[in-house]
């Protein structure tokens, strides 16, 4: 059977409208005869021009979910249910590499944590960017070389002519990640998926790379799907946030709604374990236990066994999503009108107060402080 090359709907998508819509996606892996369900009927929408951050602890399915939009699942994995609609094409139904070539790199591109795995150590960096640029467009060598040089410049690599000829090992960690980003944006993708792109970097370098991604997104009008477990990075980057637990999105909302008005006990737990918000000399809040095994069917709310606030119903029935605001929803029985009134834990309340106080302080100090900071940057 021959599969058709997908034909994308070329109509412009206005900023804020849904560009990629994943609905009830289920992704399974075959592991020595056993089936692991890494993504369990998860849904999310990526809107044009926005940055959506996916957060959640290790193993919650962030990477697997994101990779499924690029046809990059490991060999033993497959999409076993649901749809992922992008410009009229259901990505979940694509089968062949041929089909994916119309999407991957060209429309949806990806940046990984470790830049070394994304670059070929034996090839000059510029050549790799040039190849990425030429992959989906018919242009001669000189034209694509010029595009590569422009990309190097765009990602803040100075002396692009000289850098073009250098090999990955001649680049520092931060520079390498810039080069990877240059490769990813070389075709002018509409969606950039970033999977922990700065986790391996120093804070100062991290801050610069995050700034770069933000600027590129604005200048090129891209949508960004940003995966991380650092809530500080999320606060900087995200317009919207999806919180994942055990293969499901359990809460999603605007960045402010998640940080200041979270409703899911798992989101509370994530926020409460931040050292920035702990009280020195006291224990930090720590989530007890471990996430459930994904080899077994999960009954009820997957977080219930680790949740000291769990209700009886949590162990029996899986909760549906409850809408908190037009942009905010959470998958927890606590939001059911029949649920007993459960207050968010003290730590999270305190956190909010602390953030508020801090903000007041910052505003008070901003008169001199900020102006000075700006000057230092521009130098």
């Amino acid at each position: 059977m021959k599969y058709e090359v997908p034909v994308l709907d070329p109509a412009p998508v206005s900023t804020g409208s849904v560009l990629l819509e994943a609905d009830n996606m289920e992704i399974q892996f075959n592991l020595r005869g056993r089936t692991l369900t890494a993504v369990r009927k998860a849904s999310l929408q990526l809107r044009a021009g926005e940055t959506l951050a996916i957060v959640g602890e290790s193993g919650s399915g962030k990477s697997v979910f994101a990779k499924s939009f690029l046809g990059m699942l490991d060999r033993n994995g497959r999409i076993s249910g649901g749809t992922a609609l992008y410009r009229g094409v259901n990505l979940a139904a694509l089968k062949t590499e041929q089909q994916w070539l119309a999407i991957r790199g060209r429309r949806i591109a990806m940046v990984f944590q470790d830049p070394m795995t994304a670059l070929n150590p034996l090839k000059p960096v510029g050549e790799q960017i040039r190849e990425a640029a030429a992959l989906h467009r018919t242009m001669d060598k000189e034209a694509s070389r010029l595009v590569a040089l422009e990309m190097l410049e765009r990602v803040g690599i100075s002396e692009p002519e000289r850098r073009y000829k250098q090999y990955p090992h001649e680049f520092s960690g931060g520079m390498r990640q810039r080069a990877v980003i240059a490769t990813a944006i070389a075709c002018g993708p509409e969606i950039l998926v970033c999977d922990e792109p700065t986790t391996a970097l120093d804070v100062t370098i991290q801050a610069q790379i995050l700034e770069l991604i933000k600027n590129l997104q604005r200048d090129m009008g891209m949508s960004v799907l940003f995966i991380t477990h650092d809530l500080g990075v999320v606060a900087k980057m995200a317009d919207r946030i999806a919180v994942m637990y055990a293969g499901q999105v359990v809460e999603e909302g605007m960045a402010d709604e998640i940080f200041y008005d979270a409703r899911h006990p798992y989101t509370w737990a994530l926020l409460a374990s931040l050292p920035q918000l702990g009280i020195k000399g006291e224990d930090l809040f720590a989530i007890s236990g471990t996430p459930p095994s994904l080899f077994r069917t999960i009954k009820g709310d997957a977080f219930a066994p680790r949740n000291p606030l769990a209700l009886k119903v949590d162990f029996e029935y899986e909760p549906p999503f409850f809408q908190v605001s037009p942009t905010h929803r959470a998958k927890t029985w606590l939001l059911d009108p029949r649920a007993p009134k459960v207050e968010m834990p003290e730590t999270v309340k305190r956190l909010r107060q602390k953030l508020k106080d801090k903000k007041a302080e910052d505003i008070a100090a901003s008169g001199t402080g900020k102006a000075k900071a700006r000057k230092e940057t521009s130098r």
């Binding site: 100062t204 995200a238 374990s273 920035q276």
Partner: protein
């Protein structure tokens, strides 16, 4: 926390290579660690943090200055019994729990390794009791002793690494990025464990890290290092509230704050070493206010004092 100083570095330098290729990885650095306190070393990768830790562990020889453990100079040659004592009193825990554990050995052996190496037990029962106590102390069950590292989660492996240090009954733990590889939830558990050891056992920590949010939470004092040189050292809250050296300020501005409103308005401070004019007056390590040290010229210091 007591006032007793257990470890100090005095004008310590570490040089790699020699002649024209010599590279000073640590340059004229001075600091001390008190009993029962956590001193953190922060700075970008390659700035010399790990080298300082390894010099204290006597893995790298120093090329200048001295390192003192209590009243004894421990840099350079020391006699056999002092050497033995040091190997026991100062322990190190590492960033990558997986890489630092021998995959093929059982937990029992991994935790006992130091005991075997230094013959720190007389009977088999005593050794086993020590291993059991160390595992319990880090919140692991004694029955884990018969298992292998790959059967544990990242956080549990990190605790095994801590248990094998604790079994030696150290007084100082050098922790090199012990939590940066860990997930948020596990990270909180390990932070709590380290803090409890400090409180209950009076352990001292030299904590090497680049995650400043964690550093602020667990440190009593913080030293900032830039290209092998200490540029600022102060009590943790003083450093965060009143950083003066431009590098410290740049570093702090880069730490993401988990608050979208603050984070989205923040401007990044970029450090440019060319901003210092040290052509006429050489900079010096100066005490700005009690316990707050900074590296700068007289003129800079005068400006920072305001």
């Amino acid at each position: 926390m007591s006032q007793e100083i257990i470890l100090s570095a005095e004008n310590m330098s570490v040089t790699f290579g020699s002649g024209r290729k010599a590279f000073r990885a640590v340059n004229d650095v001075s600091f001390f660690v008190r009993k029962g306190e956590t001193l953190s070393l922060v700075g970008e990768s390659g700035s010399g943090k790990t080298t300082i830790g390894r010099a204290i562990m006597r893995v790298h020889p120093i090329s200048g200055g001295a390192i003192r453990w209590k009243d004894t100079v421990i840099s350079g040659k020391v006699n056999g019994s002092a050497e033995r004592a040091l190997r026991q009193k100062i322990q190190m825990i590492f960033q990558d729990p997986m890489a630092s554990l021998n995959e093929r050995a059982k937990i029992d052996y991994i935790v006992s390794e130091g005991l075997y190496n230094y013959k720190l037990f007389t009977t088999e029962a005593e050794r086993r009791a020590k291993v059991e106590a160390a595992l319990l102390e880090v919140g692991l069950l004694p029955e884990f002793a018969s298992r292998f590292p790959h059967e544990f989660s990242g956080g549990q492996r990190q605790r095994i690494g801590i248990a094998r240090a604790l079994v030696m009954e150290p007084e100082l733990l050098i922790a090199d990025e012990p939590i940066s590889a860990l997930d948020v939830s596990i990270r909180a558990q390990v932070i709590n464990l380290l803090n409890r050891l400090k409180k209950d056992r009076g352990l001292s920590f030299l904590f090497i890290a680049h995650d400043l949010s964690v550093v602020r939470f667990i440190s009593d004092r913080i030293a900032v290092i830039y290209r092998g040189k200490l540029v600022e050292l102060a009590p943790a809250e003083v450093l965060f509230e009143h950083p003066v050296h431009p590098y410290t300020r740049a570093l702090l501005s880069a730490v993401p704050v988990p608050d979208p409103e603050i984070e989205k308005e923040k401007c990044l401070v970029v450090y440019d070493p060319a901003q210092h004019d040290y052509s006429k007056v050489a900079p010096a390590w100066t005490e700005l206010s009690p316990g707050h040290f900074v590296y700068g010229s007289d003129k800079e210091i005068a400006g920072w004092q305001k």
